[in-house]
Symmetry: C2
Subunit: 343 residues, 2 copies
DNA sequence: TTGAAAGCGATACCAC
DNA sequence: GTGGTATCGCTTTCAA
């Protein structure tokens, strides 16, 4: 049933068209559409019929203008190409839909400038609130938030002391547990491939958790055993492992599975076996981590739940503007596979 | 700078507030905001200043009501948890933003019912058009499209003969090339782990491409060498390989990298080597395909470009409602690694 | 139970 | 150049 390319898009029918066809006032149509006030059964039938005949779809923009709420939420992410991001999105969109909200997406490519720009685009479009997957918090952010008071929840970073409800995972605890697990296998020279420390969650907290675990065992933190890398690049993990190699760690904790994979590649290419010659552990539990050729021991986070909880938290914040901001933690899980052994 | 939780969200300033503060009519404010008509420099300054003082952000919903365009696009996807989906999204959102559009996302969990429901939600919110990542085309879809004439472009499926502009990859050609590559290594017993044939693109076309290549070499298509599986499940690939095993193919073409990984796992667990004992090839070029432990030979698609092209096509369709629908192909690439060898 | 009318925040046309 | 006003599609009093 090919559409006629010639026929231009017909103007969509409005509430008035429905009213005319049903022979009622358009206020009545509004009532049946929204179930807001009782309407006589015969009248309602006529209206419903007219709606069906005309394929009437209410204009929620016009409704929003009147009600001052758009039933739209915004999601601001520094990157959306990865599967972690995609899962957060999935959880968030699902929860939003369940509550009758639609989700607008903005990718900021991790640029502060674009982040604020996105926030403004969302504001222009009158979203009722936004989820903000932030890596950094700058004075510009503070100013913006101060000037435009929109309900916002932070995802993956803890800004609750700044008045921004936050949904996140316990990076410090997870890193500590990971390190303890490695130490428990008897390792003493445990290196870390860490992330950018200005990234408070993945960068700073995971590193601090690692250090805390070492100290708790009475071990010193050897700065030569900690190198920095780009969490979202496998190659960066490879390079980091290369730098670490001359210090001969018996185990390495990488701040992400991607980094761990890179490190693993470095070792495999040199004919070393894992965990025979060196143990490797990561974070994220990517799909591939379970592959028989990898069997990566790692920490799993429930990204879908993270997104869903962020949405629910945002909706609460929208509905209860007075509430004080708090931080909510989504639990993680240590997944034991075969990439960590004894030294 | 903590936000006061006590202070309720202040009503956002409107164009009238700006006009009052600047001492001009609100029509003039509209002119400076949109650069639509010349405005005296001193007046413009005053308006701009008032905008800044009040933190005025124009209400694009109200604007859309008047102009009959929302500058919002919709994206309907059967699933958004995978990295392929995420990349499509990234490309699409980027292109949309570049053209001044925002993107609304709806995940349908591959249910026709939710698909139509999503389409309606988008329509209610007055999107100017939508990208539809469809797996199936049912009579319900046809009816819907017929009743609600919104600009739509199909992604990943070819519906251009139905009047729906389509952006896709050449699945038939890709599968054919993949199969030819395998045959070129000397294989004669090439199995295929195919996808659901009602999925026209991934299911049907890839299988047909595989068969075409065999026939072109004068080989018969052995139905026992073709099994069906769920493209997005590694386990399903594992199970499919198990079923295939007793027919002892020397090579297997899987309809996705995920399936290929599952098949690989099956073989590795039995102590077989790849490509020593059996060759395996996939589609998608997932991140992991390049991992040293995998080195999967596969077909790569540019998902980001696919998303971007879909957006550009949609915007064209919005701007030129008369144009006839066509299909646009995003090229693929065969990536040779080490998982395919000689029998 | 139903209708008339005001108003949400903006654009655009018509005067001046 | 600038101001006044009708209008977009809808919700929501206020009367009837």
């Amino acid at each position: 049933m090919p559409r006629e390319p010639s026929k231009p898009r017909a103007k969509a029918p409005t509430i008035k068209d429905v009213a005319r066809l049903a022979g009622v006032s358009f206020a009545t149509v509004s009532r049946v559409v929204n179930d807001s006030k009782p309407v006589n059964e015969p009248t309602r039938e006529r209206v419903l019929h007219a709606i069906d005949v005309l394929n009437y779809v209410p204009n929620s923009l016009a409704r929003g203008l009147q009600t001052q709420e758009s039933r739209m939420l915004g999601m601001i992410m520094p990157e959306i190409g990865s599967s972690g991001a995609a899962q957060i999105l999935q959880g968030a969109e699902d929860a939003a839909r369940a509550a009758g909200f639609a989700m607008m997406l903005m990718n900021t490519a991790a640029a502060v400038r674009r982040e604020l720009e996105s926030l403004s685009m969302l504001l222009e479009r009158q979203v009722d609130g936004a989820i903000w997957v932030a890596a950094r918090f700058t004075p510009d952010h503070a100013t913006w938030l101060e000037r435009h008071r929109v309900p916002i929840v932070a995802l993956a970073q803890d800004f609750h002391t700044l008045g921004v409800p936050s949904v996140l995972v316990d990076n410090h605890g997870a890193a500590r547990e990971a390190t303890e697990f490695i130490l428990g296998r008897g390792h003493r020279r445990v290196a870390m491939i860490a992330a950018d420390p200005t990234d408070l969650a993945v960068g700073r907290d995971r590193r601090l958790g690692y250090e805390a675990a070492l100290r708790a065992q009475g071990l010193e933190v050897d700065v030569e055993l900690v190198v920095e890398a780009d969490v979202s690049s496998q190659q960066s993990g490879y390079d980091a492992m290369a730098r670490l190699d001359r210090h001969a760690p018996t185990a390495v904790l990488a701040a992400s599975d991607l980094l761990a994979m890179g490190a693993m590649r470095y070792q495999l290419e040199r004919g070393r076996s894992i965990p025979g010659d060196v143990s490797i552990m990561g974070f994220d539990d990517l799909d591939v981590a379970s592959h028989p050729a990898m069997r990566l021991t790692t920490i799993a986070f429930d990204f879908v739940e993270l997104g869903a909880l962020a949405t629910r938290t945002l909706i609460e914040a929208i509905e209860h503007p007075g509430a004080t901001a708090e931080a909510r933690i989504v639990p993680h899980r240590l997944i034991v596979r075969d990439s960590v052994g004894s030294p």
